[in-house]
């Protein structure tokens, strides 16, 4: 059973990572980030229940809260990018280089 | 405030005073600079006079109360350091007087005095941290002197000078750190005191640390492969800048070798002496050959400095009494002769803004006094007996021919040295003739050259008198230098 949970975590995390690194769309990348956070949470919550460790469960709660905050900040930035008329593609963000 | 602390604080205070005086106009700054350099020269004499009276073997030391990081404020001066400090203060005075008429800002004088202070610090420090701080501190004033008041491509020369020396010094710093850490490993005490570090057990890292020190000092001497900063820095520096650069700053490297590197690594320096002597001999011959190929007068004198320093190094490496004393004395002599030569090229440059050998000609008619003094210094520089250049070279070479160090006793280093002496005439005389004796070339600028005025003649008389004094009666100078040197390397 233990390995199954780790397999899920691994798959989810690598999917999230792939989305962040490969996708061009900013939104998709944001989703990828959330996916990675969720994957780590799965592993954490599984282990915490096994050991019924309160501190770990508190950690899970913290992680969920932080992931949410992250999403908020991410969305606000993406909205500003949209409003400035440059579309969602990550490709156009190349003013800063060298 | 012990006299030794005064020796390096006085010029620094003078520099600050010059900057303040700069507010009230140029003459105030100049007068303040003159006052502080005279005061500094006076202080040096006050310290040296009783020292010589006491037989020149003593050692004035300042107590080393401990500071943070194992550093302790440890200054000491023996005959050798005092001689070099005397040379520094004298040449600073010469620089101040010789650039009296230049329209320069107060920062010019402040930089020279700061440089003098840092140089005195180097010659006084006995704590390696303080030694290193002063060693690098000399770079900043010289960087600004070359950069702000130099000639055409001064910017490149200033940056090259700073980076080149810094490259050597950074690896020297690593060597010092390794030394201090090794000492801490053995005794559990952090200290930077030169005497204490002699017992640092370095084991396998010993040669590497010694090589780091040699790299740091070698860049400054300069030893041939590490010398390419010198011609640019000397050529682009203002007249007074080249005097200080050639007169004293080149001696920091050799002083560092004698004071720090050799005592710390007695066995290694004995083992590597033949290789270093080979480099020194290469210095002497290579410098002379390069000087023969130059068309710019100042660049020629710069390369001749490389040759002269080769003799000093040869003398020091021979580890014999006369070799050491000869090397030490040659450092002072080179300061005087090359200082005088650079001054005169500076006077020429002030008048005609040209330095090439082909740009002049016929100066013997237009400026007879300049011809006389240039000839006098040039003869001293190529080692005419009876003038100071010969004494140093003769004793150094006699030391090398006499040396007991294996491989060094076979006289081919002496032969190379004497070849260097012979080549000296081959580069100096044709240049002298081209500038002073040859008739005016069509595109020459000799028309703008006027003869020396009283101030310039005064300086050159003082320098020539010193050259003649050392040349004919070097014994009094040797009693100042020799006792302290002998104890160092033995």
């Amino acid at each position: 059973m233990n390995t199954a949970v780790w397999a899920v975590t691994g798959v989810l995390f690598s999917a999230g990572l792939a989305m962040v690194v490969l996708r061009r769309q900013l939104l998709a990348m944001l989703l990828g980030l959330e996916l990675m956070a969720a994957a780590a949470n799965v592993g954490l919550v599984h282990q915490a229940c096994l050991l019924s460790d309160a501190e770990a469960l508190a950690a899970v709660a913290i992680v969920i809260a932080v992931a949410a905050a992250e999403a908020v900040v991410g969305l606000s930035l993406i909205l500003r990018v949209l409003r400035s008329g440059r579309g969602l593609g990550a490709g156009e963000l190349t003013q800063l280089r060298g | 405030m012990s006299p030794l602390t005064l020796l390096w604080v006085l010029p620094l205070a003078g520099a600050a005073a010059c900057l303040l005086a700069g507010r009230f106009g140029r003459t105030a700054a100049r007068l303040c600079a003159l006052a502080s350099s005279c005061a500094h020269a006076g202080a040096c004499l006050a310290v040296i006079k009783p020292f010589i009276a006491g037989g020149g073997a003593g050692l004035i030391a300042v107590g080393g109360e401990p500071l943070a990081f194992g550093v302790s404020y440890l200054l000491a001066a023996d005959g050798f350091s005092l001689a070099l400090i005397g040379l520094t203060s004298f040449l600073t005075l010469v620089c101040v007087v010789s650039s009296w008429e230049l329209e320069v800002s107060a920062a010019y004088w402040a930089n020279f005095l700061a440089l003098a202070s840092a140089l005195c610090g180097v010659f006084l420090a006995r704590d390696l941290f303080i030694f290193y701080v002063f060693w690098e501190a000399t770079l900043i004033p010289m960087f600004f002197i070359i950069g702000l008041w130099g000639s055409e491509n001064r910017r490149h020369a200033a940056v090259k000078f700073f980076l080149f020396t810094f490259a050597g010094s950074v690896f020297m710093l690593l060597a010092l750190l390794a030394l201090v850490s090794a000492h801490h490993g053995a005794t559990g005490v952090w200290t930077w005191d030169l005497q204490a570090l002699k017992s640092a057990p370095l084991g396998a890292a010993g040669p590497w640390v010694f090589a780091g020190l040699l790299l740091g000092f070698g860049v400054k001497i300069p030893v041939v492969p590490l010398h390419t900063w010198l011609p640019d820095a000397h050529t682009e520096a203002p007249a007074a800048g080249s005097v200080m650069l050639a007169g004293v700053m080149l001696k920091m490297g050799l002083y560092g070798l004698i004071r720090v590197a050799f005592p710390l690594f007695a066995t290694l320096s004995e083992a590597w002496a033949p290789w270093l002597a080979g480099l020194a001999a290469l210095n002497a011959v290579y410098g002379a050959l390069c000087a023969m190929a130059q068309t710019d007068l100042k660049r020629l004198i710069a390369y001749s400095s490389i040759a002269h320093l080769g003799f000093c190094l040869l003398g020091v490496l021979s580890r014999t009494d006369q070799g050491l004393a000869g090397g030490g004395l040659q450092m002072i002599n080179h300061g005087l002769t090359t200082g005088a030569l650079f001054l005169m090229v500076g006077f020429l440059y002030e008048r005609a803004h040209k330095r090439g050998l082909a740009d002049f000609g016929g100066l013997a008619v237009r400026a007879p006094w300049l011809t006389f003094f240039f000839g006098f210094s040039m003869l001293a520089s190529i080692g005419l007996p009876g003038l100071n250049g010969f004494v140093g070279e003769f004793m150094s070479l006699s030391g090398v021919a006499h040396s007991a160090v294996p491989l060094l006793s076979v006289p081919f280093f002496a032969v190379a040295g004497v070849v260097g002496v012979t080549l000296a005439a081959a580069y100096a005389l044709p240049a002298y003739q081209a500038v002073f004796w040859a008739p005016e070339a069509p595109q020459s600028v000799s028309g703008r050259v006027t003869d020396l005025d009283a101030r310039e003649k005064g300086i050159l008389w003082a320098l020539s008198a010193l050259m003649l004094w050392i040349g004919l009666a070097p014994q009094s100078w040797l009693t100042l230098i020799e006792p302290s040197l002998r104890g160092l390397v033995r």
């Binding site: 990550a90 280089r97 | 390069c290 190929a293 006369q322 007996p385 070479l397 004497v418 005389l429 014994q475």
Partner: protein, 633 residues
Amino acid sequence: MTPAQIPVEAWLLFAAPVAAILLGFFVMRPLAPEKTHWPILLSCAVVTAASFALTARVLAGHSFDVNFWRWAGVGKWGVDFGLRVDGPGMAVLSMVSLVGSLIHVYAAGYMKGDPGFSRFFLVFHLFFLAMIGLLTSNNFVQLYLFWELVGVASYLLVGFWFHKESARAAALKAFLVNRVGDFGFLLAVLLILAYYKVAHFHLVYVQVAGGRHEMLGVIGVLLIWAACAKSAQFPLYFWLPDAMEGPTPVSALMHAATMVTAGLFLLVRAWPLIAAVERLPHLVAAIGAVTALGAAVVAGTKKDLKRILAYSTVSHLGLMMLALGLGQVAAALFHLFTHGFFKAALFLCAGNIAHALGRSTAGVDDVGGMRKAMPVTYACFVAAALSLAGVWPLAGFYSKDAILDAAWRRGGGYAAAGLLVCAASAFYIFRMLFLIFHGKRPQQKRGGERPHEAGPAMAVPVVFLALGALAAGCLRHEISNLVLFGLKGLPMGIPGMAGALNLPGQPLLPEFDWVVFALGTGMAALGAACAYCLTMVDAGWDWRWRGGAAERVFESDFGWKIVVDKIAGGVVACARLVGNVLDKAWWDGLIEGLAASTRGLSERLSIFSAGRLNDSLWWMAAGAALLLGRTLR
């Protein structure tokens, strides 16, 4: 003998010239430059008197050698300066001071009106002081000091008329060749100090006599090399003919009588060292013979008067070296003594002639039939010429005969060389005599005024020198005693020195030998006859053979000058290669290139950060993976 007991004349030898020079430089030059020579002539008189007084002391057996001043001393190593007044020194010094003073008087007349008058006299007297110092120093370092000072003085004087390109080149060549010679001398002094621990002559003699012969061969060769440079012997003689660019008094004093003898004097001082190595004397003799013969032959082909005399000087110095090589110290010194007189006289006559024609130097084709115009010069020239050729009662005969006798006794090549040199020297001197004074060729009118006899200031010294050339022979016994005495009765002022050291070889001049007399005079007559036919009888000889291959051979001194030019060119090319190519282009270029390449590297690296977000994240993930991989292994 303590320093306090040094006789006052010895101090005057130095005090007078120094005072005259200082007075001249600081007082006379600014105030009355044209009177600079007054204090200097006075100092010459004082020096001459002092040297004669000292010679009398030495003849009376009171020569001395004492250290009075520690120049530089460190631990066990030390060099002291001192005075050594002994036979060889005084023999040469007496001639030098007398001839020198006369030439100083001559120079006062010759250089009158020259813009550099005061500069000339100051340097001229500095040379005089240096020569005195050289002859009276008692150790190798002090000798080297004055040796170099003499070299510098010759540089300044040969290049006196620095507006002339040829004078500048000649001065530079003279100094550099002397410098090459000094390479040997300095190295020899260093080796002596290193292996014998002391530089003082006598202490070295004692050690050499005591059997220490370390590195003596090398030291001997180096000293000979130095002597060859200064005394213009075979390998390094080529600077002397060009040194004729200097004013005539310079040529007369330095390049005939005094400076060039310094090399020989060095060998005399170092003779115990050289004699201790059995092959070296032969080397000296061989160099002397080759130089004497070669120079005498070339002298016969030269056109310029002073160059003929220059080659003649090289030839006579070769003879002195030959005598020294054969062990005849006294003969060599005596010939040096007489040569000083007649060669200086010849030079001054040549100077007068050139002066009369209003030129600095005259060639053989500019003069002719001057007998009636300049009777005094003619008389002196004849006297000196006969003395040079070695005609019986004159001084030149006695000294040359002694050398010929030694060469004849040694036989073989030396004898042949000696005889041939007699013939050749007679040939070139009589050729000069006939061409200048008896030549039938009509005189070209140049500048209109007829050549007139030189003024009294220039004529009187020539006359005295000519008398010296005639009468110096009778002093031969005094000179040989002087050389002998000088070496025997030498009370040592220096502690730890054994009794006087006898120089190897017979110190006394050989007795009169009829066979040698006949041979010498015969060869001289043969030479004179050839000169007569080739100049007076067949007048065109001097020009017919020129322009052909023969001229190139003689002009380039049998090809030696071409070899020297190649060597000099090689050194300069090597310097330019090292200086410009190796140092500036390659090495400096390498270091500057290193700095530039780091900037270039930064250029190339910046293409990685093209600013795209995904690339950054990709690099981050890859970096983390790399880190993970490295730690999990």
